[in-house]
Amino acid sequence: MSTQIPPQVQNQIAQLQQVQQQAQSLAIQKSQMETLQKESELALEELEKLPDDAVIYRTVGDLQIRSEKQETISKLKEKIETLSLRVQSISKQEERISKRFNQLQEQIQQSMGQQAQ
């Protein structure tokens, strides 16, 4: 089969597969970031319900370190902000990859159409 496909189209198909893999990898990364973001938002919700003198621990490696409520809240907010920026950045990359995918798909269809004629 592959001998009937011109080298140029084979190259385009290889690029399409690569772009598809990139898209899958980005989707996984985005999903992981969104999960972490959601988890942090839920933890923040829990923290905000607590009185100021509540006993809170923060994980540092294998240790649990006692922390102040306000300090923990600001660290968590920072973390949520960072995750949100990363999600936005991945979404932009996804848009670019999606455009590239459609472009390659059209190119392959055109090339195959020309070959059929």
Binding site: S40, E46, T72
Partner: protein, 144 residues
């Protein structure tokens, strides 16, 4: 679950493979959620078990690889519960039990939904298998 009326055997095969792939991924997720449910249940059982113990009672703390160091129970009226994102909060025994029970109920609901989806995928695969069998029968009776 669209495209079930498609009679092309190649499309049916591709659909079957896709359902199988999704079912396998879902099965893995179900196992992980199942482990979390068990973990929650174990924590609740431990808290309940400790309600009958006295402060200062001897215990052992696991340090990994089946090894333990000795310790004494202290502040039995408090439990430190992880709330995600590397944050743990000290709670009273009833509050801790309530938090863990809520978490377990949520996980049970998720597990129920996942099992329902798995059932739908299994039905989808069975339907495709039936269509393929019918197509094969049609081909065989046509050649006889």
């Amino acid at each position: 679950m669209t495209g079930m009326n498609d009679k092309d055997p190649r499309n049916l095969l591709m659909q079957h493979r896709e359902y199988q792939r999704r079912a396998e991924a879902l099965q893995q997720q179900i196992s992980m959620v199942g482990l979390s449910v068990q973990d929650c249940q174990r924590a609740i059982a431990t808290i309940e078990g400790l309600e009958n113990e006295k402060e200062g009672a001897h215990t052992m703390v696991p340090i990994g690889s089946g090894s333990f160091v000795y310790a004494k129970l202290d502040m039995l009226n408090k439990v430190v519960v992880n709330v995600g994102a590397g944050i743990s909060i000290e709670k009273s025994v009833p509050e801790a039990k309530e938090t863990l029970q809520k978490r377990k109920n949520e996980l049970d609901k998720i597990l129920e939904k996942m099992n329902a989806t798995l059932g739908q995928l299994a039905q989808g695969m069975q339907s495709i298998e039936a269509q393929v069998a019918a197509l094969q029968q049609g081909v065989q009776s046509g050649t006889l």
